[in-house]
């Protein structure tokens, strides 16, 4: 399934690298549930949320700068950062 990473920039501890925000990738696998690190970081009660491994084409991220159109990059992204594309 294709998903887009939310293009937001909250000024606190988050687990989504900025270079992936706004980019479209494919869910590679469902990694299960983990306590939300963005709440744990502030010592808040953290409920378990889904973590996904998402595969991005390098061209989606870097445009014409890529060396090979076959290259991809995987990133592990929590569900609240993902929207259906």
């Amino acid at each position: 399934m294709k998903v887009r990473i939310k293009n937001i920039f909250p000024p606190g501890h988050v687990r989504t690298p900025s270079y992936l925000r706004g980019k479209v990738g494919e869910i590679e696998r469902d990694l299960g549930y983990f306590r939300n690190p963005e709440q744990l970081a502030y010592d808040l009660p953290a409920k378990k949320i889904k973590l996904y491994r998402i595969r991005f084409a390098m061209s989606e991220i870097w445009g014409d700068e890529i060396e090979s159109s076959a290259d991809t990059v995987d990133a592990e992204i929590y569900e609240h950062w993902i929207q259906k594309d």
């Binding site: 920039f9 690298p17 900025s18 270079y19 690190p37 744990l40 870097w62 445009g63």
Partner: protein, 119 residues
């Protein structure tokens, strides 16, 4: 193509993925005793439930880019562990200040400290 990975005002300083690296130093070095102790303290504090690695990272990021330039890796860890332990109520600032003064009295080196313990 619009790339938001460039160093924009809304990208926090530590979020370095995709930026061009400047000259990197690849020299190896052993850890100092105090650095190993800081590492061990992180394990102890998280096992005790005072805070998690997420809290460690949160404070490191909030310390800002100047800390990255001016402090070593474990100096930053020490500051972050202390901040998290204060927030978790493991000790208060009064206790910390008094303990720091007491430890400073022991001497400037590990050797000095050991001598005072034997006495």
């Amino acid at each position: 193509m619009e790339n938001n990975f460039k160093k924009d005002a809304h990208v926090r300083w530590h979020d370095m993925g995709g930026r061009h690296a400047e000259n990197l130093t690849f020299t190896e070095h052993d850890f100092e005793l105090w650095e190993k102790r800081v590492d061990a303290l992180m394990v102890l504090a998280s096992n005790k439930g005072y805070f998690t690695v997420d809290g460690l990272r949160r404070v490191l990021e909030d310390m800002g880019e100047h800390a990255f330039d001016e402090m070593t890796y474990y100096e930053r860890w020490m500051a972050s562990i202390n901040q998290n332990l204060i927030e978790a109520g493991a000790y208060n600032l009064q206790e910390l200040g008094e303990k720091m003064a007491e430890v400073a009295q022991r001497g400037k080196t590990y050797g000095d400290c050991n001598i005072s313990v034997i006495e």
